[in-house]
Each structure stands twice: as structure tokens, then as C-alpha cells.
């Protein structure tokens, strides 16, 4: 990879639109160990934040990732970015393996651990960037905007101050900020503007892939749409690929091409956005979609309300993790299979996968009955 610094430029026409695979994640596992015991060193348990997740992201597309607390989506993002070491699994970017850590059984079979070296990792970071959720915590309060946005190019070799400043100005303009603010400090800006600064920082290295971790959740409603439009425009202009992590399903629907649903460390469904929102294949997805209040007082629907709390990833239920709250299971008379056998992601056709033994039972009528509206 060359050391020259070109500002992010419009993508050449050929690369526009979904193309080859940019990111491939396989069997990713991240367990946080809970230590206790006398000296605080013995392992008494583990928080299984991410427990075997696999998917791929095509070049130019936006993969949305939704889920509630404890589902592991944020941890997943950090592991993909190599900010947190994975427990096992592999991640490959543009075909190149970033890391491949075999699980215990695989090590016994002789598989070796593969990780890129430090120098190579640094190079790889130019392709993989991130935008964080908290506009107030994601910028160093003691650095100027110019320094923040210019730090990436600086550590990757752009030592010339003038050239760096020029690059920073271009980036600020690209995200809609006034260039004269290059010498100001983050505390002088509003939440939405800080997010733009964060986006400019992410773009400074001309990445292919950007992980957006709840980028608009902390912003006021009237600012959210500004930033979402910006992300959309930047994607089109620069040919970016996004992994968009969020909990607001309406936002995710708007910006994503495909959407994955996570629950307690597992990917339970993955489908094209229209497919998922209109014909969900997993009872959890159904419940999620039903739970969202519609800003339309005429459509005060009765909702599918799940019982109970979200299980803790330190102690997930046996078999299918959703079985403790599953409305479908209840309807089907509590089949044992849900507890005995963990469902794997099954192909429902057309790239739509869902991890449920009884996906075929889900239909609008069944859902309506579960809510208690229509009569069978």
C-alpha cells in the first residue's frame, strides 16, 4: 500500500454497487471471563458476549445489525476492528485474513493461530474505520478539531503540516463543517457537529469499510436525519461499505441493504432489508418489529409483548436462547426441541437465513393470533 495521501475521492463507476466480499466473519466468539476466587485469578464463569457469529458483507453495501442489550452487537463491532482480541474465530478483509484463532477442539486438530503482524495491522487499519456512538466521549477534549481529524494521516506518514491541514480542510468540508473551525475544540460544538467530526476522522484514511456503532442514537431527533443523510451520501460518493449497528429498527431499515438480528450473543436472522421487515423468519424478529411504537396514533396496534427479561449472556438459556420468551413456542405447545437442540441458521431461500426450528410456522395469521387480534 502506498504512502501517498489522497483525500477520499468519488469511487470509480465500476466499483459502484455491491460487488465482491469485503468482510468475512467466521464463527466469531468472544467470551469475557469472570474471575473470582481467593486471589481473584480463578475463572468462575464467562460472559458469552459473542457466541459463534458468521456473516459476510459485500463491497458497497450496508449491513445493519440490530439487537437489544446483551446481544453482543457492540462487542462484535469491536472484535472485528481488532480493538478487543477475539476468543476464537476468523475475520478477513478484502480476502486477507486479519486473524484466525482456532477454538480448543480445532487446536487439537492441529489448526494454527494466524494473526497479522503489527506493521501489517497498521496498514489494514487504513481500510477499517469506525464511528462511535457518543459524540461527547469520542473526541479528545484536549485536541483541536484539526489535530483530531489529522491524527490518522499523521501516524501513517503524512508529516507535512501544510498538506495535512489541506487534507483536513477538505474532509471538514465534505462532512459539512465550516473549515475555519479547524482550530476549535470539541466542547464548542453541538452533538451533531461532533459526530460529523468523528465521521471526518474516520474518512481521513480513505477506508473501504466503516463500522458505525450507533452513530445517531445519542443525537437529537432533528439532527439524526442530517447525519443519516450524510452517511448515505458519503457511501454513494466514496463507495464505502458500512456495518451499521443500531437498536432503532426504523433507522436501520432506512439505511441498510441487508439486516442481521442478534440475540444474546447469536445471530438469529439475516436477510435483505425488505425481506426481513415484511416476512421475518424468526419469532424474535417478529416481536422486535411488533414492539416498535408507530408515530401514527391511528395505528395504535396491539402488540406482541414478550414476557420476561432478556437473559444474561453470562447465563444463556439452553438450546435456543430465545425459547424462554418465545411466543411461537408457546403457541406450538412448548416443544422440547427448542430446549434440547440449538437451532442453526437455516436457509429460507434467497439468502434469507434464520435460526429457528419452526420458521415455517410463522405467517401473518399466526402472528395476529398470537397478538390476540384475529380469530383463527
Amino acid at each position: 500500500m502506498s504512502e501517498t495521501f489522497t483525500p477520499p475521492a468519488p469511487a470509480p463507476a465500476a466499483a459502484a454497487g455491491p460487488g465482491g466480499t469485503l468482510l468475512e466473519v467466521r464463527d466469531l466468539v468472544k467470551h469475557f471471563e469472570i474471575r473470582g476466587g481467593l486471589l481473584g485469578v480463578s475463572r468462575i464463569g464467562a460472559v458469552r458476549a459473542v457466541d459463534g457469529v458468521s456473516f459476510f458483507v459485500r463491497k458497497g453495501e450496508t449491513l445493519g445489525l440490530v439487537g437489544e442489550s446483551g446481544c453482543g452487537k457492540t462487542t462484535l463491532g469491536k472484535v472485528i476492528l481488532s480493538l478487543i482480541p477475539a476468543t476464537s474465530g476468523s475475520v478477513a478483509v478484502n480476502g486477507k485474513t486479519v486473524f484466525d484463532i482456532p477454538a480448543k477442539e480445532q487446536r487439537r486438530q492441529g489448526r494454527k493461530k494466524v494473526t497479522v503482524g503489527r506493521v501489517e495491522m497498521k496498514e489494514l487499519r487504513r481500510d477499517l474505520q469506525v464511528v462511535f456512538q457518543d459524540p461527547y466521549g469520542s473526541l479528545n477534549p484536549r485536541m483541536t478539531v484539526g489535530e483530531i481529524v489529522g491524527e490518522g494521516p499523521l501516524v501513517h506518514g503524512l508529516k507535512d503540516k501544510a498538506k495535512r491541514e489541506e487534507l483536513v480542510r477538505e474532509l471538514l468540508a465534505k462532512v459539512g463543517l465550516n473549515q475555519s473551525h479547524i482550530h476549535r475544540y470539541p466542547h464548542e460544538f453541538s452533538g451533531g457537529q461532533r459526530q460529523r467530526i468523528g465521521i471526518a476522522r474516520a474518512l481521513a484514511l480513505n477506508p473501504d469499510f466503516v463500522v458505525c456503532d450507533e452513530p445517531v442514537s445519542a443525537l437529537d431527533v432533528s439532527i439524526q436525519s442530517q447525519v443519516l443523510n450524510l452517511l448515505d451520501d458519503l457511501q454513494q460518493e466514496l463507495g464505502l461499505t458500512y456495518l451499521f449497528i443500531a437498536h432503532n429498527l426504523a433507522v436501520v431499515e432506512h439505511i441498510s441493504d441487508r439486516v442481521g438480528v442478534m440475540y444474546v450473543g447469536k445471530l438469529v436472522e439475516l436477510a435483505g432489508v425488505d425481506e426481513l421487515y415484511q416476512r421475518p423468519g424468526h419469532p424474535y424478529s417478529v416481536a422486535l418489529l411488533s414492539a416498535i411504537p408507530d408515530p401514527n396514533p391511528r395505528r395504535r396496534k396491539r402488540r406482541l409483548v414478550l414476557k420476561g427479561d432478556i437473559p444474561s449472556p453470562a447465563n444463556p438459556p439452553a438450546g435456543c436462547r430465545f425459547h424462554t420468551r418465545c411466543w411461537l413456542r408457546e403457541r406450538l405447545g412448548n416443544p422440547e426441541r427448542c430446549v434440547a437442540e440449538e437451532p442453526l441458521l437455516r436457509d429460507l431461500g434467497g439468502g434469507h437465513v434464520a435460526a429457528c426450528h419452526f420458521s415455517d410456522e410463522i405467517s401473518p395469521e399466526v402472528v395476529a393470533q398470537a397478538i390476540g387480534l384475529a380469530t383463527a
Binding site: 469506525v130 462532512v175 459539512g176 465550516n178 482550530h183 481521513a204 458519503l234 460518493e237
Partner: protein, 312 residues
């Protein structure tokens, strides 16, 4: 107040999703972080006063001994127990030493000991704390157990022993003794800050950019960790000054004829009924030094605390 022309085309390359706006930011002059710190500090009247008093004391404690040479030592038996005069506003003691000059020299000693030992404490503390906080894991564990060991030893007696062993009255020994027993507090402080900042998003962002460990520690983490450390250091100066005074009072610190606030207090003990003012002068100065350092520390803490912004 200028009004943005709503028909102005956006800056080249800017996208329609990011509209030109009357930037609230432009309505406020540029204020750097340090300017804001200074503003906040200035609002703390006690701290500002303390800073001024301390500055005056420092100037005097440097100037007077510099101008009078070793006058503080010389005893002139003609002036035994003499009262105040123009060149000796505080009079003379029982062996004819000029008290005011001696007091200034004593203050100088106290300040030197205070600042230099805190410098040592701060340096060792930052080093240990930052490594422990950044590395985590077994490194952190090891370093913290070392801190525990040092902490479990009673400070003052340890200092006494060190001083007694290596040389009573040697200012350098006193400084080093205070330094190597007092760094643990600073280490814990810095470590706590590092642990906290390590998880901050802007540090994660820097890592994601490919910023190396050294730059992250120096540029991103240390500056934020410095705030509580600076406050602790200001209070530590007060602490060190008192420790030295106590040592000298007990006879383990600076010994006569070299003056110290502590040994001046000790001497004055015998003359309490005859010349009570001999206790007051070093006593008041000691109190003044300690109070000023404390208030300064308070002011610094409030000034450096980023949460002091008023929320609308």
C-alpha cells in the same frame, strides 16, 4: 451578528445532507482548553489569593537568603535576645541569630523539600500508575501488590529510619525519603485515571486509526490523567512540608545551625514563656504554607474538572 445568506452555495465538495448553518460556534470566540481552565481557576478567590501569597513567599525565600548570604547562621553574641530592629524585624534569638533572615532561609528549605519531593513522587507515581493502568493483566497485578507492600509500611517511621540511617540533617536524604515512601498514592491515582480513560471512545478511536502505544499514552491518556495528579501534588507539597517540619522538630531533620521551620519550633519550645513570639513566627509561616498549598490544590481541582460546565 452576521446572518448567513441562505442562498449561499455550500462549500465545494460538501454534500446536501450537511447544510450550511449559522454556526453557533462562530458566535463564541475561540477558547482553548487551558483558557477555560484559567477562567475557572480565577473564580476561586481563595485559590488565587493562595497563589499570590505563595508567590510572594517564594520570592522572599529566594531573595532574602540570596542577599544576606550566610547571615542566617552567624551568631553575634552582642545581639542575644535583642528585640526587633530595622534589619531584624523579628528580633534575635538566644545565640544572636537574626530571626527574620533565618525564617526566610527556613521557608526556602521547606519549599525546596516540598517541591522536589513531590516531583519525585509525581514522576515515580506516573510511571508506575500509567504502566499498570495501560498494560493491565499481570503487570498491573504485580505493580499493585508492590504498591500494597509499600503502603503497608508506616510512612513516618520509615522516613525516620531512612534519615537516621543515611544521614541526619542532609536535605537530599530527606527529599529522597519522602519521595520513595509517598509515590504510592500518586501511582494509584494515575492508574485509576488510566483504567478509566483506556475505555474512552476517543482512545479506542485512536487505536482504530493505528496510533501506536507510546503516542496514545503520551498524547491521549497522560493529559487527562494529569488533572487529579496535579491536585494531589499540590496537596502533597503541603504534606511534605509538614513531614519535614515534624522530622526537624524531633531532631531528625535539618539540624542547627541550618534553620528549618521544624527546628525553629523546637527551639522556641524552651522559650515559650519568655519569648512566645518565637513559636508564632515559624508556626504561622508553616500554617500559611500548608493552607496556601491546600487551597491551591482545591482551586486546581475545580479548574481542571471538566464537569464544571453549566448545562442549559
Amino acid at each position: 451578528m452576521e446572518r448567513a445568506d441562505l442562498t449561499t452555495p455550500l462549500a465545494s465538495g460538501a454534500l446536501a445532507g450537511a447544510p450550511a448553518e449559522i454556526d453557533e460556534v462562530d458566535l463564541v470566540p475561540v477558547r482553548t482548553y487551558w483558557q477555560m481552565v484559567r477562567e475557572r481557576f480565577m473564580q476561586h478567590r481563595l485559590a488565587v489569593m493562595s497563589l499570590v501569597i505563595l508567590a510572594v513567599l517564594i520570592v522572599f525565600s529566594i531573595a532574602v537568603p540570596a542577599l544576606t548570604g550566610d547571615a542566617y547562621r552567624r551568631s553575634n553574641l552582642a545581639y542575644v535576645d535583642a528585640g526587633p530592629s530595622l534589619t531584624a524585624p523579628l528580633g534575635y534569638n538566644e545565640i544572636g541569630q537574626n530571626q527574620s533572615v533565618a525564617l526566610m532561609k527556613a521557608t526556602q528549605n521547606s519549599l525546596i523539600i516540598g517541591f522536589v519531593s513531590v516531583l519525585i513522587i509525581g514522576s515515580i507515581g506516573s510511571l508506575v500508575g500509567s504502566i499498570a493502568g495501560y498494560a493491565g493483566g499481570w503487570v498491573d497485578n504485580l505493580l499493585m501488590r508492590a504498591v500494597d507492600v509499600v503502603l503497608s509500611l508506616p510512612f513516618f517511621f520509615l522516613i525516620l529510619i531512612i534519615v537516621a540511617f543515611f544521614g541526619v540533617g542532609d536535605v537530599r536524604v530527606i527529599i529522597i525519603a519522602i519521595g520513595i515512601t509517598g509515590w504510592t498514592v500518586a501511582a494509584r491515582l494515575v492508574r485509576a485515571e488510566f483504567l478509566r480513560i483506556r475505555e474512552a471512545d476517543y482512545v479506542q478511536a485512536a487505536r482504530a486509526l493505528g496510533v501506536g502505544h507510546r503516542r496514545i499514552i503520551v498524547r491521549h491518556m497522560l493529559p487527562s490523567a494529569m488533572a487529579p495528579l496535579v491536585v494531589a501534588c499540590a496537596l502533597g507539597v503541603a504534606d511534605a512540608i509538614i513531614t519535614e517540619a515534624a522530622l526537624s522538630y524531633l531532631g531528625f531533620g535539618i539540624a542547627r545551625p541550618e534553620p528549618s521551620l521544624g527546628n525553629m519550633l523546637n527551639n522556641a519550645r524552651e522559650y515559650f514563656y519568655a519569648n512566645p513570639e518565637r513559636i508564632f513566627y515559624p508556626g504561622i509561616l508553616l500554617i500559611l504554607l500548608v493552607l496556601c498549598a491546600s487551597f491551591l490544590g482545591d482551586g486546581l481541582r475545580d479548574a481542571l474538572d471538566p464537569r464544571q460546565k453549566v448545562k442549559a
